[in-house]
């Protein structure tokens, strides 16, 4: 054993920042780890390069049209997909935040301890359901119900800008958004639950000691202290929503049209790529790859914002 010949103090052996072990300790696993690291860098590099290079002709020939154009086939226009992605994920986010915030607060503060774990587990199990199941559920269960009850209900409220329930056929921006909302709910609830559980107990006790009611503790102390982290949770959920493919493809109708009437079909980047790929010629593929790059940029941006929020929340709590 080579390690026996070198006397490394026990406390120093795993010291962080001590990245260079003495030569005698450098053994096969160092090389395995290095190889894994290089492989990882290589694979990710190749991945990005291949996607960008496949779409390169589109960026050279019609960089503007792919972002602002609305047709598909001559020049390729991605505006309907980009707008559709933003529409569905933002509507989904609004629904998920309203429902999820209430759920997370109830789990942490309101329901009895015995129910707490069960509810939290159920919410997290929702995340484990494959998205195809959500898609089929949206198409076969939610869509008929919405056609029969929800669209007419919204109609009766006079929300004509959404479209008319008489013309609606089922697949729609609204349907896809609601399915998405259910899908991103678990991630939003579980992160929000953690963020609000991390609000220090002594702040809660301080509020109570000043005569705050339980509701005031939640609204005036817990939520303000956790708000940055809740923003982070929302953006993480948003990132998940922008990239969701199959459930949206099944429920949105997938037509290449900028759709402002939410009762009617539209499309998103991810669902458009998935459905159009089958019959795509080489030019189509370049355009689809370009859409893929746009989606990657959106998702990456949203994820980065989410990380920034969560890092800031950590800093806030570290100062408390």
């Amino acid at each position: 054993m080579t390690t026996n010949t070198v006397q490394v103090p026990r406390s120093r052996r795993f010291a962080v920042g001590d990245s260079k072990p003495p030569t005698a300790e450098r053994s096969w696993y160092t090389y395995v780890l290095a190889a894994a690291w290089i492989l990882f860098l290589g694979v990710s590099g190749l991945f990005f390069w291949s996607i960008v290079s496949k779409s390169l002709p589109v960026w050279q020939k019609q960089a503007g049209t792919i972002i602002t154009g609305t047709g598909w086939g001559g020049p390729y226009g991605g505006l309907p997909m980009i707008i559709g992605t933003l529409q569905t994920s933002l509507i989904a986010l609004v629904i998920a935040v309203v429902v999820g915030l209430g759920t997370a607060i109830s789990i942490v503060f309101l329901i009895p301890a015995r129910l707490r774990l069960i509810t939290a587990t159920i919410v997290e199990l929702l995340a484990a359901i494959p998205s195809i199941v959500y898609g089929v559920w949206g198409l076969l269960v939610l869509s008929p119900w919405m056609l029969a009850h929800f669209y007419p209900f919204l109609d009766s409220l006079g929300l004509t800008f959404l479209g008319s329930s008489n013309i609606a056929t089922g697949p729609s921006i609204l349907l896809a958004s609601i399915v998405l909302a259910v899908m991103i709910l678990p991630i939003f609830v579980s992160i929000t639950r953690e963020v609000i559980s991390a609000v220090p107990q002594d702040l809660i006790e301080a509020s109570l000691s000043l005569g705050a009611t339980r509701w005031q503790v939640i609204s005036k102390t817990v939520l303000p202290t956790a708000r940055i982290g809740i923003m982070g949770a929302a953006f993480l959920a948003l990132a998940r929503a922008t990239g969701e493919t199959v459930a949206v493809a099944l429920t949105i109708g997938t037509i290449s049209k900028v759709q402002w009437h939410f009762f009617y079909p539209g499309t998103t980047i991810a669902s458009w790529i998935a459905t159009a790929f089958g019959e795509a010629n080489s030019n189509d593929i370049q355009a689809l790859m370009a859409l893929g790059v746009i989606l990657m940029v959106i998702s990456l941006g949203v994820s980065l914002i989410s990380r920034w929020f969560i890092a800031r929340q950590r800093k806030i709590l570290a100062k408390v």
Binding site: A113, P200, D202, L203, I204, E205, A206, S207, L208, S209, L210, G211, A212, T213, Q216, K220, T221, P224, T225, R227, I316, K319, V320
Partner: protein, 274 residues
Amino acid sequence: MTDDLTTKTTTTASSSGVKVAMQLKDVAVSFNGRTAVRDATFDVAANRVTSMIGPSGSGKTTLLRALNRLHDLTPGAKVTGKILLEGVDIYGPDLTVTELRTRVGMVFQRPNPFPTMSIYENAVSGLRFNGIKKKSLLDEAAEESLRAAALWESVENRLNVAASNLSGGEQQRLCIARALALKPEVLLMDEPTSALDPIATLRIEELMSTLKQQVTIIIVTHNMQQASRISDDCAFLLMGEDRAGELIEFNTTEKIFNSPIDSRTLDYTLGRFG
């Protein structure tokens, strides 16, 4: 149990003609059936500083938290016996828990101003919780309480900066101001200087001696010198054989430190254990 009580040496401040702020009668706190502290019977004299001392595990903080019903939050916690605030049972129907907590304020071990609020908002947070919105009232209370906590001079020009910009000692004084803004009758302090440096500690101690003119103070401390310096009355608690804390002796601080009746009190104040 009754034997214990009869041998217990407690004096009631009321006998010496001093006004009583709070009375504890055979108070015990248990968690899920396990007793954490028991047999606490003593009177807290108004406008004096009463300290609770004892080694860790003797239940002093547990007892303190019973006095503003903070144990209400803990599932399985049970408080028995009687705790009276100016003669009214604080666990009874004549006093709501929120009203009790505005009359019995609390300062915690770690300075814990609200991190998302400014100095001003922290100072008036208790008033806001209680529905006071009028700007002039809030301004007045903020100045008055910050002055009372000896903080006004140093923060007067930066009332709107975040409370986290203050030093630890200033944060703790802000927490005291926050509690004082509600004009409580009693102020509970749970080892308020244990997270502070000696100079900040000294300033809080000086503050307490002036504050007792307007508010009755009950302080838990593990620092015997502190208890002897600042308190007028003193309760000594100790963990019994079944790991439950109990009140051993209550008397004026002078008597507890100079001529205690129980030999265990003497041993502890002389530093023989703990």
